[in-house]
Symmetry: C2
Subunit: 322 residues, 2 copies
């Protein structure tokens, strides 16, 4: 059970024995009017800033969605997808996730993306299955499968499991292996559906054990409508990881989500010597120090060997605690 | 699988279908020199402050430990335990957890505690089993069972499971039911033992499924030696709850732990209409507003119906998101 996504030089493995994979969600004009207007005007400076910021914050893969809904998607999306992917690839080599509801845009993106991008997404709808799976099979790519179908998103987790199973089995008829299907079992807002969290955790476990597939989901829909969503989001992603979820499309710029993922990796035993956790914490501390010293006019201190020393010290301290 | 702890007027149920139970850890002089000195001098004002603060922060049960190690525990602990329990009971009726390694102190505490206190603790050591279990059986009380024995704390989770099983089976020979044994499978520091988190989650699940017992643990030992421990602690407790842990001895005054528990309750479906989460968030917001208005000299605003209104609004907002 391992899904491999690649750029020309980088390979990201998604699986139960790997660190959790963050797919950065920010390159998406949905609900971002400024970004949409800029994309339509051919200004991609914000796209590049979003790409850099998400990579700095720890994204392993970048989702690329160019769904500018104000204009006819079939006419505009393929060309926009090509432009944005080429632009991102001109400045970085992070693996990509090509995100569109427009099949020609997916195909256009696949043709210019270097490496092995992830395709986002197929659903259980007949029309979608028959349009997307042949493309995924032809280019031998991994795909995200969302567990809704013609009847919508069922409140009943057994129905969502059945939809996931149907997609996986249909994909197999196209020669697409279970390793290459990442299921999104869909997290409902827990403020409206009391069992939304528990259902999601059960589905993640069932899909892993019974279908042998990786799972993912958006990490913030769960908290929709509730105040101080960071507490729900960070507990949710930690609990989903404990239940076996292996990646998420989310915003790594949100401190609580990012740190919950780093912490969960440590707690799953997927961060050797806690090095990534220590580096992330130190980076955040350095950022705070830099901001403080900028305010006070002093130069911040830095030390290249500090991460490794901190790791050694933590191990030593922890050993004495046993 | 339900453990019932009682004061004269309150009943706390610990179990898989109940909200997570926080046992406040603060009334404990271990590592708190001031508190120890005060206890020895007969000054219990800090104990009362700690009791109130923990209850305000959401503790469901208060742990009472009077282990002033500087003087002979067998001589001092029983009398101190009686004094502290009587004092706490004179101002509040929260259920109690009697915490001592000195059996006469446990018995002294049991005799003055009203309701049905929790006993903390028995281990797998022969001497301890034969000293504590008869007392637990005689008074028909629930007990915390820590999975170490004469050989210490094993790094091997299978050994810790075997110790837990031994205690549960021995307790049964005394007529103590599995409902009344809460297992602490022991969380090692993850900075020293890479598999500490994953092992704990596995043990929690195994103990629940194979022994039919509730589980608990201290929530902060896991992060010993690491920086910014709040991120590890809050992810850890969320993940342990997702794995089936039903209570913890911890510090509810720590914002990240407290909010992780409230969020995890919502996500497990154990907080109807998110009422406790909303109340806790609102209380924290009101505290922040009060502090701000105190600084600015203005009176804070308050509204008794606001919690329920916020809950209704959240549900409505969430419904539109589906």
């Amino acid at each position: 059970m391992k899904t491999v996504i690649k750029s020309p030089t980088k390979s990201v493995n998604i699986g139960p024995n790997e660190p959790f994979v963050i797919i950065g969600e920010r390159i998406n004009p949905t609900g971002r009017k400024k970004l949409e207007a800029e994309m339509m005007a051919g200004d991609f400076s914000r796209v590049l800033r979003d790409a850099r910021a998400q990579m700095m914050a720890g994204a392993h893969i970048l989702d690329v969605n160019v769904g500018v809904t104000s204009i006819q998607p079939h006419k505009t999306e393929p060309d926009l997808m090509i432009k944005v992917i080429e632009l991102i690839q001109s400045v970085t080599d992070i693996p990509l996730c090509i995100d569109s509801s427009v099949v020609p845009a997916l195909i256009a993106g696949i043709k210019v993306a270097k490496g092995r991008p992830l395709i986002n997404s197929v659903t259980g709808e007949e029309e979608r299955l028959e349009a997307v799976l042949p493309v995924v099979a032809e280019y031998n790519l991994p795909v995200i499968a969302i567990s809704n179908d013609e009847s919508g998103i069922s409140y009943d987790p057994r129905v969502r499991f059945a939809v996931a199973k149907k997609i996986v089995e249909r994909a197999e008829t196209y020669g697409i292996s279970r390793d290459d299907v990442i299921i999104d079992p869909l997290a409902m807002p827990v403020g409206a559906v009391r069992t939304a969290g528990a259902d999601l955790f059960t589905l993640v476990r069932m899909i892993r054990e019974e279908l042998g597939c990786n799972t993912m989901c958006g990490a913030s829909n769960i908290s929709f409508g509730l105040p101080q969503r960071q507490w729900i989001n960070s507990s949710f992603i930690s609990m989903a990881i404990a239940s076996g979820m292996t990646c998420a499309i989310t915003n790594p710029l949100e401190e609580h989500i990012r740190n919950a993922v780093y912490a969960a990796d440590v707690l799953m035993g997927h961060d050797e010597d806690c090095m990534r956790y220590l580096t992330a914490i130190r980076k955040a501390d350095a950022g705070a120090r830099a901001a403080a010293s900028e305010a006070s006019g002093e130069a911040p201190t830095a030390d290249a060997g500090e991460d490794r020393r901190a790791a050694r010290e933590a191990r030593r301290a922890a050993r004495t605690a046993r």
